[in-house]
């Protein structure tokens, strides 16, 4: 049984455990509750109440009362999911069937795969809280998320009708343009941290202070002070590119409701539509998580030790990581319900004429500062 012995069982089981925890216990519930938050926050902004009714129907299980916790409506995501599953799954007659069926999966999967390189905590019971700690983690996330565009393009093309096609075309050019800005705006971080490994970038921030907030380690030196400006620039360009990459307002041209009905998923219904929806929100979470890792110190909070001091601290690290992600998600939602949509030429101009140049100059600036303070 040499084959069985050669399998590193501990690694296999911990990886499986981490994957299940990350995907099914954290990210997917987070996706559905981000949708809920989207509705509630938009309601707050527009002076409405939003979905505040759907509780958990415990009376169906024989309890005396329905459980409707403090905010009300917390059962809404579950009701939404049930609705998506039960709806009729319609495949229009004019579509290119194999690709039409392939597209939703292609939209969902890359977003989930990117999470595998994400260090979402320090250490828990001696296990590193990252599914695959590869030394090119950042590039891996960029690479896989760039594959995500195929889902949208294929959906647009396979639907074989005008609006989805226009949505697909728009998203292709938008994603290619902004991928460049996103990659370039992350380069200063790599220069400062000296590694493409996400856990090493976090390690650097634990010891030297968060890149966007260099006082979190309690001291401030000339290098950090000088690096603050390029880091803020990098953060702004990175966040803007992230909005464009995840097709969020103000850059949601691929699915702009008022011009393209729903863009690339106009022809989709039921669970296939839900997959696009999930993919979009998962990409949003992955993007926010990446921003947290790059600029906001990952799982690190000042005065809180890492997980090697005990499982409680490990759990707090994980919680603080997802807490930061949740704050960024709120920001995503807040921006969405504040800004109108950009015009297409404005979008392209912003990407190629401004963000691209700013990111490039920023790289030279950072490199210069690093050489100066070396």
């Amino acid at each position: 049984m040499a084959l069985l012995d050669s399998i590193p069982w501990f690694l296999v089981f911990t990886s499986l455990g981490k994957t299940i925890f990350l995907v099914f216990l954290v990210v997917l519930p987070m996706v559905s509750y981000t949708v809920y938050a989207e509705r509630r926050v938009s309601a707050l902004i527009q002076d409405r109440l939003g979905p505040n009714r759907t509780g958990f129907p415990l009376t169906l299980l024989g309890f005396k009362k329905d459980f409707s916790p403090f905010l009300g409506g917390l059962g809404q995501p579950i009701a939404d999911a049930a609705k998506f599953i039960l709806k009729e799954d319609l495949t229009p007659g004019h579509v290119n069937k194999p690709y039409f069926w392939l597209a939703p999966a292609l939209a969902m999967m890359p977003a989930l795969i990117t999470l595998s390189a994400l260090p979402f905590g320090s250490e828990f019971m001696g296990v590193k809280m990252v599914v695959a700690d590869i030394n090119v983690g950042l590039l891996f996330m960029f690479a896989i998320s760039s594959v995500g565009v195929y889902g949208i393009v294929l959906a647009g093309w396979a639907s074989n009708s005008k609006y989805p096609f226009l949505g697909g075309i728009r998203s292709t050019s938008q994603m290619i343009s902004y991928e460049l800005c996103m990659g370039l705006s992350a380069v200063p971080v790599l220069l400062v941290a000296g590694s493409t490994s996400l856990s090493k970038i976090i390690d650097y921030q634990v010891h030297e202070g968060w890149l966007l907030l260099p006082i979190t380690d309690g001291k401030l030196n000339l290098r950090e002070l000088l690096l603050f400006l390029p880091m803020v620039l990098a953060f702004i360009t990175f966040t803007i590119s992230m909005f464009a990459e995840t097709n969020r307002l103000p850059f949601d041209l691929p699915e702009s409701e008022s011009e393209l009905v729903a863009g690339y998923h106009t022809e989709y219904s039921s669970m296939k539509f839900a997959l696009f929806f999930l993919g979009e929100y998962t990409a949003m979470i992955a993007g926010s998580a990446l921003t947290v890792v790059l600029f906001l110190g990952g799982w690190h909070l000042p005065f809180i030790p890492d997980g090697s001091h005990g499982p409680i601290w490990g759990a707090i690290n994980i919680a603080s990581f997802f807490g930061k992600v949740a704050v960024l998600l709120f920001f995503f939602i807040w921006v969405r319900w504040t800004l109108p949509r950009f015009r297409y030429d404005q979008l392209m101009k912003l990407g190629w004429l401004y963000l691209f140049e700013i990111a490039l100059v920023n790289i030279f600036l950072t490199a210069g500062i690093l050489a100066f303070t070396h």
């Binding site: 590039l139 690479a143 093309w157």
Partner: protein, 165 residues
Amino acid sequence: MSPLLFWIFAALMLVFGIGVIINRNPVASALSLVASFLCLAALFVGLNAYFIAVIQVLVYAGAVMVLFLFIIMLLDLREEQRRRFNLLAVAGGALVSLGFVAELVLVLRKFTLGQKPFAPIAQVDDVRQIGMTLFSTHNLPLQVTGVLILVATIGVVVLSKRDLK
């Protein structure tokens, strides 16, 4: 990497590679090419060359092929699907590729260096390694390539501007 994984990904890559040629639908061909790129990246991962694997996905699957697909979709390539197989062309193509394979076999059999197993490289930061090599020993070719690409870019801009007038 387990040999099993190598054979699986190698076989998949060949299958998708053949798919690129025999698919009548250009979009399907392009997608097969993407899939075969992804399998190639998996093979690179098997060699512990993470950086090259990731760049393979990022550049080829994520950018170049998206542009290809973009253009294929913009052109209406129905003609391609209707065209029948030309027996003579198929035979000619087969002949040329067989000749190429024969040549490869002949050359590679004499290339004894490839048959020797290399000593496994201990844990290296392959990004650093590649950067060092590129910017020290191969600096001139890198600069020349950069200038070449710049010239090409300027040329494209000039050509497309002239069309507008």
